[in-house]
């Protein structure tokens, strides 16, 4: 990794932190407010690619662990990793990696617009939702003891919000690719 990669990782981590400072948005048809922070995870993969994207998310989690209140709602510290939802945070790192991996494989600059959109959407849904849930739900289930099925099922209320985010990540990922492409330049 050269200095530029390290700076890109740090700047993207800072963007993810800033996304957590913005007030959550409430959409009429979804029961839970949406925070932009997990959108940052999808974007990290879609924009920086697998390795740098996952590093940016990992850097955010490092800041959380050393006691900076950088998660949405001013959460931070080791207590976040002790709670039942810590699996989603761990899943962020792998989610950003898979999201980047899919985007790197599918997206090419010379492709038509629609193909790029669909590729980014696939990356955001597989990495940013599928992989994140894959880590988050079993962890939550394990922490919940015997009522694991019910709590894991309840976490699905976040799915509509995450689908909205995947859609935003698709649009933003493609817009950044045309404005300032970083994805093809693999780290």
């Amino acid at each position: 990794m050269n200095t530029r990669d390290i700076v890109l990782i740090a700047l993207f981590a800072a963007i993810i932190v800033v996304l957590g400072l913005l007030p959550p948005i409430t959409l009429g048809f979804i029961p839970v407010p949406i925070t932009a922070q997990s959108l940052g995870v999808m974007l990290a993969g879609c924009i920086l690619g697998a390795k740098r994207g996952a590093s940016a998310v990992l850097l955010v989690l490092l800041l959380v662990a050393i006691g900076l209140p950088v998660l949405s709602g001013g959460r931070g510290g080791l207590a976040v990793f002790a709670g039942p939802t810590a699996g989603y945070l761990v899943g962020w790192v792998f989610g950003a990696f898979v999201c980047g991996l899919v985007a790197e494989r599918l997206v090419r600059e010379e492709q038509p617009e629609l193909t790029q959109f669909l590729s980014f959407l696939a990356a955001a849904v597989i990495g940013g939702i599928g992989v994140v849930y894959l880590f988050g739900m079993p962890w939550l289930a394990y922490m919940s003891g015997k009522a694991f099925f019910e709590t894991a099922a309840a976490s699905l209320v976040f799915l509509p919000g995450d689908l909205v985010k995947a859609f935003v990540a698709m649009l933003a990922g493609r817009a950044v690719l045309s404005g300032y492409p970083l994805l093809p330049q693999r780290a």
């Binding site: 530029r4 963007i15 924009i47 050393i66 900076l68 002790a82 003891g145 935003v168 649009l171």
Partner: protein, 201 residues
């Protein structure tokens, strides 16, 4: 804007070395998951409350910091209470909230620089395998702390520019310029870092 969550003080937890605290926290987590006897879990919860408050954190601040984690714990415990048994609900509640409070106590008594020193020490042996360099990690942490206020201000500017043009401030139309403007700085910052010779090999 980015202040750490550590509280100044001189309690026993403050004086303990960081590695010791982390190892104890890890051991406590394993022990808590092996235990399911309420005669041990209830006193453990009481002990963790005492320990957390002994750090000199006020009750209000203590509640504010842990309320989200405790809320999720409460939901999980309630699910156990309803779908399993009241006993199971109380066990899960005691176990998880003890862990949350202990972790919060470690965070409240450890400064960011102490954590960074410990992380540097943990990473240094890994340098031999070429995964990551400890100096790069500290550099990246420093860069984030330095640039968060700037990026936040830039978001404010982009939102103001939207309003000046009579456009609604939508996540998508603010996000893309924010990301492109921020990442475009990377080359200049990287050059500045290299010019100063921070990353000597």
């Amino acid at each position: 804007m980015l202040n750490g969550l550590d509280i100044e003080g001189n309690s026993p937890l403050h004086r303990m070395p960081v590695r010791g605290k982390l190892l104890l926290l890890f051991a406590a987590a394993i022990a808590l998951f092996l235990l399911s006897d309420l005669r041990l879990l209830v006193p453990a919860l009481g002990l963790s409350v005492v320990l957390y408050l002994s750090t000199g954190i006020g009750v209000g601040e203590a509640v504010r910091r842990t309320r989200f984690a405790l809320f999720t714990v409460l939901l999980v415990a309630a699910a156990n209470y309803v779908f399993q048994s009241p006993h199971e609900g109380v066990v899960v509640f005691c176990r998880l909230s003890t862990l949350v409070l202990l972790a919060a106590a470690v965070t409240a008594t450890t400064s960011i620089s102490a954590f960074m020193d410990e992380i540097t020490r943990l990473i240094t042996p890994l340098e031999r395998f070429g995964f990551v360099r400890a100096a790069d990690v500290s550099l990246a942490v420093g860069l984030v702390i330095r640039f968060v206020p700037e990026i936040f201000a830039r978001y404010g500017e982009i939102a103001a520019a939207h309003k000046a043009r009579g456009l609604p401030v939508r996540p998508l139309t603010t996000l893309v310029p924010l990301i492109i403007l921020t990442l475009k700085d990377a080359d200049t910052i990287a050059m500045a870092i290299d010019a100063r010779g921070f990353r000597r090999h």
